[in-house]
């Protein structure tokens, strides 16, 4: 695990009208590291992620990628840098098969604008193998027929297939049963072993303590603390999430 952060936000702030969604948040993730991002509802987790993903721009503050200051104005910018987000709803087209979904929007074509199915299928199988996603019967099955864990795996594989460096997972285990959660957590672990930086949003502290290296706690739009997993307990995290010290409480005068 390198200590040099690959992605870093410095003092980012985001307001939606009168609501202060993020206040001077510093956040970072390193190569090969699994960084958990936790916080109660409305803490600003999604706002932070969407800002990094280019869904909207931060009002203030800077984003650094590999020590370079970058401006991310669209999801396309983000994926060009190598930042991929797997949203909770996975954004898979149920009627298309696994290969079509993994290459959606970036299909390879040959002569006569013909889709190069053979080459795409091969890369797809290779990627899934490298991530040890082996429960699929075939990559030509429509996604509709897959289990929740398989879908999550496909969505993650889709995100990492493009030489991405940072993968952000939004609640990857929220809708899954025990065995499927296991599958996905293993997959997350493999991503970091492959040297990717992983940001994992989750409400499930059990899952987080199983895989995360560090845990960043947001509360009311502010970064309360970043814990090393080894040196902290679930109680520490819960305490930080619910009663962490803030520089200022929104709606109250700063003393």
């Amino acid at each position: 695990m390198s200590t040099q952060p690959i992605l870093k936000t410095v003092g980012v702030t985001k307001r939606f009208g009168a609501i202060q969604a993020l206040t001077e948040v510093n956040f970072e993730v390193c190569e090969g590291e699994i960084m958990a991002l936790v916080g109660d509802n409305g803490a600003g987790k999604s706002t932070l992620i969407k800002g990094i993903a280019g869904i909207y721009a931060f009002d203030e503050g800077d984003v650094f990628f590999q020590d370079r200051k970058v401006t991310i104005n669209s999801p396309r910018d983000a994926s060009q840098l190598g930042i991929e987000v797997v949203y909770q709803d996975l954004a898979l087209a149920d009627n298309l098969d696994v290969v079509a979904n993994m290459f959606l929007g970036r299909e390879r074509t040959g002569p006569f604008a013909r889709l190069d199915e053979a080459s795409m299928e091969k890369s797809c199988v290779d990627t899934l193998n490298s991530l040890a996603v082996t429960t699929l019967r075939s990559v030509r099955l429509p996604v509709a027929s897959l289990s929740g864990g398989q879908r999550q795996s496909i969505a993650v594989a889709k995100a990492v297939m493009w030489n991405s460096k940072v993968v952000i997972l939004d609640e990857p285990t929220a809708a899954l049963g025990v065995a499927q959660t296991r599958q996905v957590l293993d997959l997350v672990q493999r991503l970091s072993e492959k040297g990717l930086a992983v940001v994992m949003i989750s409400h499930n502290l059990h899952d987080i303590f199983e895989v995360a290296d560090r845990i960043a706690v947001l509360r009311l739009g502010q970064m309360v603390n970043v814990f090393e997993r080894k040196n902290s307990s679930q109680q520490d995290i819960v305490h930080a999430m619910t009663a962490g010290r803030l520089k200022s409480v929104p709606g109250m005068a700063v003393e």
Binding site: A100, L128, N129, R137, V139, A144
Partner: protein, 414 residues
């Protein structure tokens, strides 16, 4: 590389196991399993057609004659062309109610343009009419996407407005006659026996070559491919069906020229739908619009293109319908045309809810719809009302079969 890993791990990895070559026996077993689990493909439609044909045969001995069935192909050509476009619209999960009158507009423009005072030659007027119908599709698409309106409402407005345009264009005349033989020959030409054979053989050879080549490419890529005996079996089946069709046509007036047009559009549009990015994006937008958008697909642009395609195909259908009648009357585009075209796509197996369907469903569906039309027309004392009722019931049956087979598929995890 992939081939190697396949061999190494085929016992440990389920994903890889599916990649190795299947034997003929296994392939047939799989096929049988798919059929049993409700993935019936075109079988219910063909089976349905056989039943319908047998019923008509008992009532009207003229039905199963080469003369009548070649005539049926000419009758269904216009509807099938329009339905080809409808398939793409339905794949998006949209609807286009205007296609019938858009087809009429194309027919009227073509007919009037060739008459005095314009006297435009047919080879200029024909493309112009198709461009016009495509532009109408563009207009609908732009309105739908710009104002984010339901396509149902916008094309309903189009349905009314373009029917008015047809009335105004034709005006007091009531009918515009097409005398240009280059146009009327589109539907009135029947191929001689020899040409019929040549067309049939070309079709068989093309099918065999593409089928073998694409399978070989998959084999070389180390991907799951069909066993060669199956490929040859399929080719033999296609060849037998084609030869039978040619012999049957030749025993009457010969193969209608529109058959060739129907097949050419079928192949071309199937290629677009299955083998190009555009086609893939149409399916993606119909399956999950948000996923398509996040994948960087320009969803609104795809929607506009599809409405243009539907407009173009409506134009093609309109030209064929006008050519068949040799004239365009004020009732052009009216009657059952719209519903027949939509019913054709749906009966053929294209889902109304988007994302599921094939181009060939338009052809098969048009065959069913127009067979009913044709057959009931041969039986004495059958009213137009009865025809509509039967067509309606068949549509209902098709949708129910579709729903049942889909539920079956979901249950079996396919």
């Amino acid at each position: 590389m992939a081939t190697q890993t396949n061999n190494d791990n085929s016992s440990t990895s389920a994903l890889l196991a599916s990649q190795r070559q299947t034997t003929t026996g296994e392939y047939l077993q799989n096929l049988f399993k798919q059929l049993r689990t409700g993935n019936l493909g075109v079988i219910p439609i063909l089976f349905g057609w056989v039943i319908i044909a047998l019923i008509f045969q008992t009532q009207a001995p003229a039905f199963l004659t080469a003369f009548n069935l070649t005539n049926l192909i000419v009758q269904m050509a216009g509807v099938a062309m329009i339905a080809y476009g409808i398939v793409f619209i339905l794949l998006l999960g949209e609807i286009d109610l205007s296609v019938s009158y858009v087809s009429a507009v194309a027919g009227v423009l073509l007919a009037m343009g060739m008459l005095p005072p314009f006297n435009v030659p047919w080879f200029i007027m024909l493309p112009l009419a198709l461009v016009a119908s495509t532009l109408i599709g563009l207009l609908h698409g732009v309105i739908i996407t710009t104002f984010q309106l339901p396509s149902f409402v916008v094309t309903l407005a189009g349905f009314l407005a373009w029917s008015g345009v047809v009335l105004i264009l034709i005006g007091g005349a009531g009918t515009v006659v097409i005398q240009e033989s280059a146009i009327t020959s589109i539907t009135r030409t029947f191929l001689s026996d020899e040409v019929g054979w040549v067309v049939g053989i070309i079709a068989i050879v093309l099918y065999a070559i593409t089928s073998i080549l694409s399978n070989r490419r998959r084999q070389q890529g180390g991907l799951a491919s069909k066993p060669m005996p199956i490929i040859w079996g399929e080719i033999v089946l296609v060849a037998l069906a084609t030869i039978g069709f040619v012999i049957f046509c030749n025993s009457g007036r010969g193969m209608p020229l529109v058959t060739v047009y129907l097949i050419v559009f079928l192949i071309g549009l199937t290629y677009v739908a299955q083998n190009t990015k555009f086609g893939r994006y149409v399916y993606a937008v119909g399956g999950n619009k948000e996923a398509a958008r996040r994948a960087g697909i320009r969803v609104e642009r795809i929607r506009v293109y599809v409405f243009m395609l539907a407009g173009f195909m409506a134009g093609v259908g309109g030209v064929i319908l006008a050519a068949r009648l040799g004239s365009v009357a004020t009732n052009a585009g009216g009657g059952d045309l719209l519903l027949n075209a939509i019913a054709a796509a749906v009966i053929g197996g294209t889902s109304l809810f988007g994302g599921r369907g094939k181009v060939y469903s338009a052809l098969l569906g048009a065959l069913i719809v127009m067979t009913i039309d044709n057959g009931l027309g041969l039986i004495p004392n059958v009213s137009a009302g009865a025809r509509s009722i039967v067509t309606g019931l068949v549509l209902l049956a098709a949708v129910i079969i579709d729903a049942i087979s889909r539920r079956q598929q979901q249950r079996t995890g396919r």
